[in-house]
Structure formats: C-alpha cells, structure tokens
Symmetry: D2
Subunit: 367 residues, 4 copies
C-alpha cells in the first residue's frame, strides 16, 4: 500500500558513546507521538534487534533527556547481526543472525527503523535494507569524518572537552616551563585534534592525515623556548604517526604480540620531546572524557534537528536516506552514498591554513 | 602603485562586547607579523581613530588572548566620526569629525583598516571607504542577524550562556512547580532566544519576528500543568511583543516619558502569566552575561578563521569586503551588500519547525 | 519501648530551592535501606504532610540524583500546618491543620521525620515536635546564615554562580569602561555577596549588615577611574540599603502600595552611580540562577555527610537535633538552639577584613 | 631594632602547580602596598633565590590575576639550595648553594620572605630560617595532606576536576555497560580520591591508606551488575596499592629497571577487573588536569585569606609561622610543627564513614 501511512517505528543507537544521542531520540519520539505513531526503543543497539530486547517509548520517557549524556537505549560496540559471535564448546564461531533481526522487526510490526550510529552502524543498516527493512539513518560520530554532512553531532562537545583541557594545561605548563602533550580521539581523521587544538591554542597539532617529522617538532619547541615562551602545548590525535614509522599500538591492544613498550602516541611524543629538547614534558590521554557528559548547545540543537528531520523522512517513506547538515539547513542524503565517503583533513583545508597562519606547527616543514 | 605590497594595517573593534573579539585580533596580528606587516591597534573603536589614540600591536600583545572575553583594544558604542557630539556652552552639538579620522589614518601611514563590528560599525566603515580609506570588515554580532554569513562569532557563546541558565532554572522550576521567564538579547532578531531556547529545552519561545497572543501562552502553561508537568520555561527575546501591543519600553530607557511601570518584557510576561494561570511565576533578565566571558570553542575557531581571512583580504587589497562563513568555508562578501540584508527568523525556518516538532509554543496558534 | 529500633522514617524538603537537596535525600535513603528501614518521601514539603501526599522511596529512586539540582520530593514555600490558608466563600481564612499532619504521620507509621529546610521549616518542625513527632533536622539555606553550622549546603553553589557571573561581567565591563552592578541573594545576611564578591574580584560589596553611604561608592568608582581602571564591579545583596534609606521594595512585591519606581537595589545603585559619576553603568539581577543547577562538589559532599549523619541521629533516636558542620566534622546541635541564632556578617569578621585588605569598598568609610 | 617596621618583602612559589597561587600572591601584594611595603617577586621558586632572578611586583602586576591558574612568578620542582645539582665534566654533583640564597636575600634588602609551597618548600624554608632569613609560610598542596590546616587551597579545585570527570564518565559508562577506572593524584594521601569520588558518585574508591583486596573489587562490580546496574565507576589514587603488592611503578619513571609493563595503577586495576569480571573496562589518568585552570571560588577565597593573613604575620614579625584554616577562621601555626604532621585519611574519618554509608566500596571487607 504505497499511500498507507506508517504507524510504528523502531529506534536504536549503535556504536560508541556520543553527546547528543538522547537529544536525537527525543527529537524523533516527540513529533512521532504528535503524528500518532508509536515508538519502540530497541535496547543496546543491534544486540536488542537480534535478541528481541525493546521497550515502548512514551513522551514521559524522552522528557528531560535533551541535556543528558549517554543514551537511554543503551548501545553496544558489538552486535553485527551478520557476524554474530556464538560460543560452542568454548570456541567462538561467527554466525549470521540477520534472520532473527528481521523476525523481530516484523514481529514488532515496525514500519521503519531509525538507526543512529556511525560508519559501522550504517553499513549494517544498509545490509538490513537489502533484506527488506525500511531504514532511516542519523549519522553519529564525534570524529566528524563524514563527507555527507557539514558537521556531525557530538563533535562540538568533544572539541569543547579538548579545548577546556588545553586551557587548564596552559596555565600549569606556563608556570612550570613545560611541554604538555595531549592525546585526543581520531584514529583516521584529525578533526578533533585540529579543531580542539585551534580552539585551545595548541602550538603543535599532529593528525593522522599529516605524517610528522620528529625534527620539525623539536625545532618548534626549541624555537618557542628561545623566544622566551618556556612552554609548548602539543595536541595529538591517537592515530597520528611519524613519517617513517607505524601507528603506535596501544599497550592494551589485545592484538599486539610485541614486547609492550608505550601506552600510546602521546607517551611516545612526550618521551622523544623530553629526550631531544631536554625540556620537562608531560602527557595526558583524554580518552572517554571526550565521549561523555552533557552535549554543548550546538550539539543539542543539531541533534534535535537531526531527530525531527529523521522522523519526517520516515513519515514520507524516504527510506535509505540519512539526515545531513548542509550550510544552515538539514537535508537528506542516501545512506549508501554517505558511507562511501569519509571526510579527512586535507592540507588545503581552511582550518589547516588558519592554524598555520596563527603559528601552529603540524610536525612537518612541507606545508 | 597597484603592485606595491601593503606594509601597515590598523585594527579596531566597535560596538557592544562580543566573545571572540580578541581571537579575531590575534587572528589578524599573528599572520600580519609573519608577512612583515606592522599592526596598529586603534583604541576604543572609532573614538580612537578620531582622537588619535592607538598602540603598536606586537606578537607578545596578542599572545594568550585567544580564550579571553572583551577586547584588548577597548570599544565604544558611541563615536560615529560623522555624527560627533561636541559640547559648546553646555549644549551638545553634532559635528563631523571624519576629517580627523582621515588625518589620523594617513598620519599613521595605514595601508588598510580592519574594522571588527556590527551594523553600525560597518555603516561607518562604508562611509570612510568613500573618503578613501581601505577597509576590510569582520562582522560581529551576538545576535547572528546578518544574511551575508551563516553564523557570526559570539552567537554560539551567547547561546551557551542562555542554555546553561535554562538548565539551572529547570531544576528549580521543577522542584517548586513554577513558571520561569528568561529574557535574552535580541531587539529585532530572535536567534538567541530561538537557539538558546531550543538548546535549553524551553517550552515557550517568544521572538520579535512572531508577535504573540497572550492566550496561546496561558493555554500552553495550563496544558502542561494538566499533563502533570507542573513547571514551564519561557525564553523571551527582549524585543518580543504581543500581537496587539508595542514593544515594552525599559524602565531605564531615558527616552520614556510615561509613568514607569515595568522593567522589560520578561517582567510583563511573568506578571500576566501569574495573573492568568494562578501559577507562581518568576523572571530573570540575563543581560550582559550574554556578552562577556571566554568564547566557546566554536567561536574561538570562527573568530580565528575570520581574523586570518581578513588579513589575507587586506594583503590581496580586496578592500570593501568582509569575511563571511558559508557552509564550512570562509568567503568574502562586499561590505555594502552585507549591511543591506538583515537575517531575521522566518516562520518557515528549519529551526522554527524543529522547535514546533518538539512541542515548543511560539505564543501563537498560527504557526 | 526505649530499646526498640526505629523501622520507618519520613523525609521532606521545605522552603526555597537549594543545590544539594537531592544529595541529602540520597544520603538519608541509601543507609536507611541498608539498616533495614523503609523510607517515605513526603511530597511538596509540609503540604504533603497535611494533605497526605507521599511516595515510598526505594534505592532506585535515589540512584543518580547526587548531582542533580532541585528536589525529587518537590517543595513548597507555603504550607505551614499551623497557619493554613483555606478559602471560604472567596475569603481566605487561616486555620490550624496540624492535627491532619499528625494523623498522617501516625497513619504512615513513621518513627521519625527528617525535615530538610531553612528557618521556616525548622520553626514548624519544632512545633510539630511538641505534638509528639520525632524530628531530625537538616539545615538548608543558600544564605549560610546559621550560627549552628560552619557552613550550610547550597551556599558554595550559590557563590559559584555569583563568581562565574562576575568573571563574565569583568571582561565586558573592562572592554567598555563600564560600571556593572550585580544583585545577589541575601535579604538579611550578606554572605553570598561577600563570598561571591571576594571570589569574583568585586570592587564594591554592599550587604545588609553594613548600611552604605552613597558618597563612599561614588568615590571608589571615581578613584578607580582616575587610576586608569576604567571599570568597576559592584556586588550588592538584595537586602543592602543606604544608611539613610529603607530597603528598596521590589516592583513586584504585592505588598507595596506606593507608585512603583524601581525593580530592586541593583537598579537603584546603578542609576545613582551613573548620575553621580557620569560613567556608563549597567545592572543585572542573578535571581533564581543562584538556587538552581547541579551542586558544586563541596556541596555534594557536605549534603551527603548531612544526610548520612541525619539518618544516624534518627537511628540513635536523638530527636530534636540537627546535623551541623564544625571544622571538618559533622556534629549534632539542638534544633531549638539552632533556630535561635542567625549568623550575620560582622564587620570584625575575617572575610570582611580580607576583602578590605585587597581593596574592596563596603560603601562606607567607617570600616 | 625590635620596633622597626618591615619595609620590603620577597615572595616565591615553590613545587608543583596548584590553583590559587596567583590569588595568594595578589592577597599578599595588594595589602603590602597599602602598608607602604615594597614587594619583590622571586622567579621560579628557590631557583630564583639562588640565581638572583626577581622582579618588582606592583599593583598592576597583581591586578586581574585572582581567577587565573598557574603562578605569575613561575615555579620549579627542582632547586633546593641545600642540594643543588651542578654539572662538572658531564657529571652531576650536588652542592650547597644556600650561601648564594642568603646573599641575594640580603642584597635585595628583604625584611621577610613569604614562601608559598608544600612539604618540600616548607622544609627548605625551615632550613633557611636557621640561616637567619625571616620566613612566613603559606601551605600549598592540592593533596590536602597537612594536619596543621583544615584545608589547603587548590584541593577544592582538584576535587572539582575529578568530580566533573566522573560526571562525564558516568553517562558513557552507563550507556555502554562499562567499568570506568579514573586515576587521580595522591601518592600518599587519598583525599582527592576520597572527596572527588564522593562528589562524583564513585562506586569504588581506592586510596593509599587502605590497601585493597582484588576480590573485594570484583565482588562489588559483579554485585552491582547482578542488581541491574551495568556500570561501575572506580576512583583510584595514584598511590593506591593492593594489600599484597607494591605500588605500581609508572612506565615513565626513570628509576624503574624492570621490563616496563603498565602505565600506572589505573591501567592495572582496569586490566584485572576486565579479566576477572569479563566486563568491558576502560581507564583514564587525569594527571595535570587536576593542577591547572582557574581556581574554584572556594579556593580563590581561601587563597586570598591566606595571602592577606601572611602579610599581616610578616608585618607583625611572626616569623617562622604559617597561615592555616581552623573552622571558619585563619590562624597561625609554626612552620616547624606544620611540616611534621601529615594528614592521612583514617578509616575512622567521617568522610570514609559517609562514603561507606552511601555504598562506596574501599576495596576491602575489613572496614
């Protein structure tokens, strides 16, 4: 029935935590109820879809959650229905549970599923679409590495945390004539380091897209020191790497087999700077601080816009699409297209040029 | 000499305070010095240009100011060189001091003047251009009411203050079953109220662009009360007005001649809600809290981009232009064009629709 | 049965909002459950006690409320059981409803009632004790005006809000060469103005305990101006008054019968300073911002200590007592004694001397 | 000349960074100038005293620094005049430079030296006193581990940072059903972990004073999980250690010679919890975030009181004493006595009992 209105939608949040998830859920559920739709909250991402865990979401459930961090639905980094780990006799076997997912989708009488998530979530959503589910996407990544949208929600909040940390460390670095190295998120895309570093006045920004030369870093620190600025702040993305080296494997990475040496890139950078400049150097890894807490006003607004737009897309049966920010407006893009294009920092990007203009060193003399 | 490079620029900040001014100044001065330009900081806006008050700006002067509120150059709301009040025998006479401004501009050997300011500043800048000064503009308004740019710096910081205040008032309104009315800036444009209200979860948003009906407000408050939500938050722009009334004249406005009755629109709205719904109602006027303090990371980045872009425009002798945000890029627009088009909230705007979708009442049943 | 253990307690929150109320409730309920006690949450202060409105409080109800503002139990400024307004034929008559309160207390099988509140709440609690109820008090006032305890919870949070506001206003006052007048809470006691002003670097602090002279204020502002400090920050308690004048009656006070002229003391002070010094002056009234929002860590700790101490007092049947901070320890004091002694700022107080030492003017040349 | 007034004082800040240092400096310098004293700011702690680096401090130098982090005088962790490292032929030799320190003290015509610092600083100050210098102390430690004062400045700010971090991590732990381990400062004293953990609602607090048992930790995490609380927050002091183990030696500690294995106690705790409970566990080390940034209002007030009190002690020639908080008053104690008594967390302390009452586990079943 082409013209039949949808009556019931499901909603789930997948992947890592991100400030604004609850604002999206509220943005979906409130107008849905006004349209007469019922809303099913699927718990713990795709895990709930496979295992049939879900709760009805009423207005009272989404009231007062706009400013809260986390997600009332729970999330999970695991749980790909197409690659589902099952334990047999102490051995883990990967099976396909997508049929269970579909059975639940149908059993719950869902007319559409709104999937809020990143890369991984969208890839799974895309496969579920092939099986006949009606999917609307809401892009989620604090990394901001999606070509399809000018900005993703959560990114502004992560940048806020980084910027606030740099502010704090500035005073103490300055009082003690120290180099401070701050590791921020960004395995492949350096947006958090770039924007956080710009906002927090970092002197050196190291990102995965621009492999760095050790000498360029030492020179910058020493040059500042000689100008009487006896402190330097380095903002480094976790995925940054030297031009002649590999990405640092975390000490905690279960895959590593080599003798464990260093916790991460920040520790390595701090160690090398101290050795080569003889200046006292300290490091800090911001880690999950960047994913938690109340979203910034910017993210609350963007999340709310994404949520309300997504439910409209669902009502209009524009399945397979995703809400995206373009300039000052929300538009729709195809999920398929969106997941194909990652947005990385380009050295010709205005943000990079701006940073260069105010004296930021990217660890290379080439740009 | 068309091909001659510029050697010396002036910079001034005009109009009301705005978080990010210092970040712009830093964004201009640091690359200017790298290009070999000297930078003259003109004090207290156009007042300094007329009266010849200025200081050389070196790198050390703009170091560490990225995160600070206010402006190291000082500003002034007065000081239009073309309408300069002079006191003669106890009488104030308006004179034209633009010749003094030009004389100083020339005497200081300026090749260009970067004027950071709002509407008023840009109008004056435009007239000074006619006299032969080379002007580059940087748009400044916490109100965000400029068609030429997707967003102005300072707005995100103002919205942050509003959103944080609404968060605080929510808890106390909820505990005491109260209506809280919060007055925010916005004489003609409602962007701060709209974005701040959206981010802070306001139940009612009143803006100058949408004249409100009293009954619609009372009905919303009562409806919420009947649904068991014994509190409501109203976010009202200072310029909001009832459909059948005039803008409330502030008690402190020197121009008012009538018997003083009320301090502002928030007080009036609070009084009327309490009278008509019998619910305890309180109000607060956020006032200058919205203009002060450290800029948000978003504003620090945007300000820095505007500053570094402006000095490039100057170096390229693109006089008469202004830096503007379009999508994720900074571009240049003509000052003339920019000052002609104010950006007001339109009822068809996505932000308005989003707000409606999550249940916000705009004080009218028409939209 | 002297030796019989208590089995069931009630808890209520009375009076104005105060950050930390929920932390106290949690601090009472968690250990109570561990002791095997049941906890009844009485709603909306004494109103719930008279009208029989209450809910059972389980651990899940107090989980996650440590950091939240407001009170999950609701509160009410009205509701003195001994002076209860009842409407007969459009006329309000004051009646005694204490018998209803007692009947509910007994009907609910309460062994003790923990009353969290200020002055008013403690006076009522004291009278209810005479009727046979077992009361434990927890002192609550953001004003910090209680002799019996070194500090009350909520005060640190209020001071935080004031200090943050002064920080913001400093930058904008400084940029625009302005005087900024900030009105804070404190009708009879000036602690918020004193501590907030000290923390926020106010130049002038006006409190109820030290009637001020207008000339002393003008002189301070002018003296600063002549020293090149072209801005001044005034922090004024709502109850501050000139030495030769009355407390300013709020425009919104229903009791006032005179022609309404000014909104409050801040407006008056701002007006007079501008008239007498010719310096641009602005004012802001912080109002309920001081009562809302998440408590500071200091207040969360103090509230939790007060709560856990109160339930121990109840378990030990030390009825008629109240938790109080003395140095670094919580001790018990008698409610009766506590309500008799208000703690006002004394001119010989160290905080006053400290403020004087760093140049703060109290609006008088006498101290 | 017993009755001669002092005319000139020196001031220095020693040891690690601590929010409030600048507020103390301002609190000393402003009243000093009012008394007609001149103030010499000695740079980089005792290094400046030995090497003769100092600047005159005028009122303009201490204006506007109340709210800033760091110290305008610089500090240094090195620089004990009695154990001064000098390099001869590539070898470091320890020499005694106290004669240089005394020569500078006398050459600068100082009547007294105000030393702001912790343990180490006070020990050195005490030795300098024996040589004839007039010393007044101001105790500084974010660790709060000084018996002589109810609280030290900087501690409240450190607790604020910890509490805010726990708030952020709560939401993300809760959304993802994770255990989060947060390492905070405190090598010997657990006050930051205890107070920060209490304020941030930690489920488990591990401190140096209470050696922990692994099983008690696992049991608590599992117990919470079985009650449906699928996340836990662990707040661990850097000096916490298992009952049967040594303090974890940091990977970066130059003294360690064993094969490097783990970064710190948080990493170890996280690893063991994940292994033993099979629950996803993450950790973060807050590090220098706890030392930087603007002091909280509480610390600004306490610092200002300490500063103004110290200059009074100097004026009264009460040399060898230190400002200390006792209840709500500042009093003086002898430096000698103060440095002898460290204040550690005692299991009978009210804060510990309070934490136990609200369900906090200290990693042992013994208390």
């Amino acid at each position: 029935m082409e013209n039949e209105k949808i009556k019931r939608i499901g909603i789930l949040t997948g992947g890592g935590d991100c400030p604004g998830l609850n604002a999206v859920i509220r943005g979906v559920a409130k107008p849905a109820h006004d349209m007469g739709l019922s809303v099913l909250g699927i718990l713990d991402g795709f895990e709930g879809l496979v295992n049939g865990k879900a709760v009805e979401l009423y207005n009272k459930d989404v009231s007062g959650i706009l400013a809260t961090g986390g997600t009332i639905l729970g999330s999970s980094n695991k749980g790909d229905p197409f690659h589902w780990p099952v334990e047999f006799d102490g051995q883990v076997k990967i099976t396909d549970k997508s049929a269970d997912a579909l059975r639940n989708y149908e059993g719950w009488n869902l007319d559409a599923l709104i999937a809020i998530g990143g890369d991984g979530t969208m890839h799974i959503a895309h496969q579920l679409m092939q099986m006949g589910m009606n999917i609307i996407g809401v892009p989620k990544t604090i990394d901001n590495d999606l070509m399809a949208t000018d900005q993703t929600f959560g990114h502004d909040s992560a940048v806020y945390v980084v910027s606030e940390a740099l502010d704090r460390l500035h005073t103490t670095a300055s009082a003690h004539h120290r180099v401070m190295v701050v590791e921020v998120m960004g395995r492949y895309a350096g947006w958090i380091a770039l924007n956080g570093g710009l906002a927090g006045g970092a002197d050196i920004i190291l990102i995965p897209e621009i492999p760095f030369e050790w000498d360029a870093i030492y020179d910058k620190v020493i040059e500042r020191n000689m100008m009487g600025k006896r402190f330097s702040i380095v903002c480094v993305a976790e995925g940054a790497k030297p031009i002649d080296g590999d990405m640092v494997v975390k000490a905690t990475d279960p895959k590593r087999t080599d003798p464990i040496q260093l916790g991460g890139i920040a520790e390595l950078v701090a160690k090398k700077i101290e050795e080569n400049t003889k200046l006292e150097t300290r490091y800090i890894v911001l880690g999950h601080l960047q994913r938690g807490g109340s979203p910034t006003p910017f993210d609350r607004i963007l999340s709310t816009k994404f949520g309300t737009y997504a439910i409209q897309l669902a009502a209009k049966k524009k399945f397979g699409t995703m809400a995206a920010l373009k300039g000052t407006n929300i538009k729709s893009v195809s999920i398929e297209e969106a997941i194909e294009n990652q947005k990385l920092v380009d050295t010709s990007d205005q943000a990079v040029k701006t940073a260069k203009s105010v004296g930021v060193c990217f660890g290379t003399k080439k740009i």
